[in-house]
């Protein structure tokens, strides 16, 4: 390690390269990616346990394993956890780790901001779960649904602290997501390797770009809704108070203007991952790249035109319902195009049934089913029968497990050797895939039947004799198989991490720039950033077509590479809003020390901002090849 650059700031910047504090103070996108991945996987397991408890309760009619209130808390926290603390951050882990490597950059545009978004995600995730420690009986765990509809979330109808943990926690998480979105957009637009025009970027980078754009346009809407809700609860405002002239439908418009695009925040990066995995393991170029790019952008845009299809039963009238039916159906076109392009990508290829590829193929199969039931919901009159039944539960699980989770597993098997220098065990991988695949269908496919047989969602119990017993029991059995698959995955990671780091730089005959680097990559990523002449440049560098040069390496970097310095300011800045949110919670509890706590939160945040601005340039100079 080379010498640290001179420090101008008041607080010295930490320099330790290993140990606990090096992880707390890290600004390296690769380490932050790993932090995101590990934390998100933990929350993913928490969400899974919540799902398992619900399925146990619903295995037979009239069971009393959990109380009604606990069940309501479970499904609220299951959805909140999976969406905001599990799947989104798991995708963020891929984005953080891979984005700079895919575009040939040394880091993201704002490394400290990147660390900040992780820390506020962690604090928000803990905050939103604190209610569990206080018990469900008094309503201190969020139990008003992940959509938090007003006026069920009013103090009158939800007197516990549940909605407060939920509102404030989501506000914290939203800050981190929003700054991540900006960070990625700036990184993609400014820091691509020379020669990598927008239409030469890997397709995953395109999906990150569109997803980030969705984030910065969608999150403000829910932020407004949550702040209004917080004001209604903590300060007795009247935004959603019907008796005082507020509107409960207004909340739904604000929420779903975010809530529908959110689905694409969860699915577009997953599509990007699959679009990277399929070409590598089929040894074919992605079919119709430009169409894939435009369909991604189109889906991102159209995601904002369909929010009211979540509100077909609100009574908006036949004209509004028809308009939103048509805009919703239209999304089937770019989505369908993607599916056919993936099939064509494999057409004529040499498909290797690696675990990564199996999950990618499973993704296409499951996502198709989820997309088709989505097309069925689009027809408003038909949706009047499907809305809020298990048919919708089937749809969302096929889209988000069959879609996002399958893609995430595919990506994990694909990029694990790059990140940890070890190839995951393929034999365990096959077990992992088949158990998850079989378990998932056994668990989620019966939901289609339950919905068509009239089972509403979000019910903690049901009467016998409605024809639901068999399908519910089957679904519960499926959860056990699915869980076994996840356990095999954990075992696989544990076993693999005990092996020596011997993964080759390019185990799959990859196509994108990260495979040009050693596994794991050095801390500065690229000693020499190559000039890119083609899409899939690394592939055509290895397998040239004609005489055209695909990758061109210039002269080695003259002198040492500057790396951004570690910093404790991001974690401190994340602490500020968390303390302030705790203060608002105390306002709701009518504690006398509430205001001082809020003020303390702002003081911490201001101090951190001051330190952030003045802690000096810091950073490290490192000689290429000096080790990672």
């Amino acid at each position: 390690m080379a010498t640290a650059a001179k420090t101008l700031g008041i607080l010295p910047r930490p320099t330790a390269a290993t140990g606990f504090w090096s992880w707390v103070a890290t600004v390296d996108h690769k380490r932050i990616g790993i932090l995101y991945g590990v934390t998100a996987f933990f929350f993913f397991l928490v969400g899974g346990i919540e799902a398992w408890l619900m399925r146990l309760q619903l295995a037979r009619p009239g069971l009393e394993l959990v109380t009604a209130k606990t069940f309501n808390a479970l499904f609220t926290m299951h959805a909140t956890t999976m969406i905001f603390l599990g799947v989104m951050p798991l995708l963020a882990a891929f984005m953080n780790y891979l984005l700079p490597l895919l575009i040939g950059a040394r880091d993201v545009a704002f490394p400290r901001l990147n660390a900040f978004s992780y820390w506020i995600y962690l604090f928000g995730g803990i905050f939103i779960n604190v209610g569990w420690l206080m018990g469900t009986a008094a309503g201190h765990v969020p139990d008003s649904g992940w959509f938090g509809y007003a006026n069920l979330t009013s103090v009158e109808f939800s007197g516990g602290l549940g909605p407060d943990f939920w509102t404030l926690g989501l506000l914290l998480l939203g800050i981190g997501t929003l700054v991540s979105g900006f960070n990625f957009i700036v990184t993609i637009l400014n820091m691509r390797a020379p020669g990598m025009s927008l239409m030469k970027m890997p397709i995953f980078v395109w999906t990150i770009l569109v997803t980030s754009a969705i984030i910065i346009f969608a999150f403000p809407s829910v932020t407004v809704a949550l702040i209004m809700l917080m004001f209604d609860r903590a300060f007795a405002a009247n935004f959603f108070e019907v008796a005082a002239g507020g509107s409960v439908v207004f909340y739904q418009h604000l929420f779903w203007t975010f809530g529908h695009p959110e689905v694409y925040i969860l699915i577009l990066p997953a599509m990007g991952i699959v679009s990277e995995v399929l070409p590598v393991h089929a040894r074919k170029m992605l079919f119709g790249y430009s169409v894939m790019v435009f369909s991604t952008a189109l889906i991102g845009f159209m995601g904002f035109t369909v929010w009211s299809h979540h509100m077909f039963t609100v009574g908006m009238g036949p004209v509004v319902n028809s308009i939103f039916s048509l805009t919703t159906m239209a999304i089937a076109v770019p989505t369908g195009v993607k599916i056919f392009n993936w099939l064509s990508t494999m057409w004529g290829g040499q498909i290797r049934f690696t675990t990564a590829m199996l999950f990618a193929i499973g993704f296409i199969a499951c996502f198709t089913i989820g997309g088709l039931s989505g097309f069925m919901h689009a027809s408003a009159p038909s949706d009047a029968q499907q809305h809020d039944t298990y048919f919708v539960v089937a749809h969302i699980h096929y889209v988000l497990i069959g879609g996002s989770i399958f893609a995430i597993f595919s990506g994990i098997y694909h990029w694990f050797p790059k990140v940890f220098g070890r190839l995951l065990d393929e034999r365990l991988g096959q077990w992992n895939f088949w158990l998850v695949f079989a378990g998932f269908h056994t668990f989620a496919f019966p939901f289609h039947f339950l919905g068509l047989l009239g089972m509403p969602r979000r019910i903690y119990t049901y009467a016998p004799g409605l024809g639901w017993e068999f399908w519910n029991l089957l679904s519960t059995i499926g959860v056990f198989v699915l869980a076994a698959g996840i356990l095999v995955f954990i075992a696989n990671v544990v076993v693999t991490m005990r092996k020596p780091m011997d993964a080759p730089a390019d185990p799959w005959d990859g196509r994108t720039l990260e495979w040009t680097l050693p596994s794991p990559p050095p801390v500065y990523n690229f000693a020499v950033v190559p000039r890119v002449h083609l899409r899939d440049a690394f592939w055509f560098h290895k397998h040239p077509e004609g005489k055209e040069q695909a990758l061109e390496y210039g002269e080695p970097h003259p002198g040492p590479i500057h790396l951004p310095g570690q910093s404790l300011m991001p974690v401190l800045l994340a602490l500020g809003p968390t303390v302030a949110a705790t203060g608002v919670l105390f306002v709701r509890m009518r504690e006398s020390f509430a205001v001082p706590v809020i003020v303390a939160g702002f003081v911490i945040a201001l101090l951190a901002l001051w330190g952030w601005a003045f802690e000096g340039e810091g950073g490290t100079l490192i000689e290429p090849g000096e080790g990672s």
Partner: protein
Amino acid sequence: MRTRLGGAVRAALLPLVGALLAGCSTLPQTPLDPKGPVAQTQTGLLLYTLYVAVGIGVGVTAALLYVVFRFRARPGQVGVPLQIRGNHTLEIIWTIIPILILISVAFPTVEAAISTSAPPSGALTVRATGYRWWFAFEYPELGIVTANELRIPAGRPVRLEITSNDVIHSFWVPKLAGKTDMIPGRINVTWMQADEPDVYLGQCAEFCGDSHANMRFRVVAMSQADFDAWVTHRQAMKQGPGQLAEAAAAGKALFESPAPGGNCLSCHTVDGTPAQGKVGPNLTDVGQRSTIAAGILENDYESLKAWVKNPTDFKPGTTMPSHARLSEKDLDAIVQYLQSLK
């Protein structure tokens, strides 16, 4: 190969779906068995989109399986496959075909959205109000208020004016009509019709808190003559209960006594008596309802007694307090009184 495989799977699957749908007709709460024009329109669309979706799903799955097995890597393969960048003709084809399919759904969708929204003329008006966790039904033209059991004439459209007294609920009778949300501060107008006399199950479909699962109701469709007779009988009940047996009369007294007695009158109404509370369901005709506690318990002596004694055993979060402090004799008297209200 592709079409042969797809066709075979489709031939095997469509009867399966058909069998499932046929098997459903005996189930009490499935939208697949519509018994009125509104539900028929909605289910017709549902089935049309279902068949299209199953068809596409089977076709794509067959294509996926074909591609995956046909182009698997084989030992001894050398070189790399041809790198195909795309094919505009193919991409245009599979953009246009979905658009055509969607247009075929779009027209009936718009037509159905309009036809199911406005009630036809000559409809009977019912005001349905959601409460946590039960339903109030009012017939403004007939001057009748009841709860959790909606009686309607078969073969006549019912104009529903739907609202809520507290949080958002959703009114759903799968065999008669899809959902319409019950929203505080707002009246949604919709309609439904039962073609045949029968009992149809309904359930709240919008999450509304603790006992959302326990918020059910029934729609009893009767012949016009039976309905008219019921209306006449029910309107006469507004004079209050007539001659009561001894135990029932004691129950009435207890019902109308303030705390620490029954104190039922502060929440419940029985027409023609001092009980005029508006918090809980109107109990004027509770004795003739088939269920109690918003459709979750049969209306028999034991259930009713257990319910009055401790409602939270059956409906967590309910505002109705426990009456376990009452003696067995008092409980029996109240149950006898309630059962006589018919």
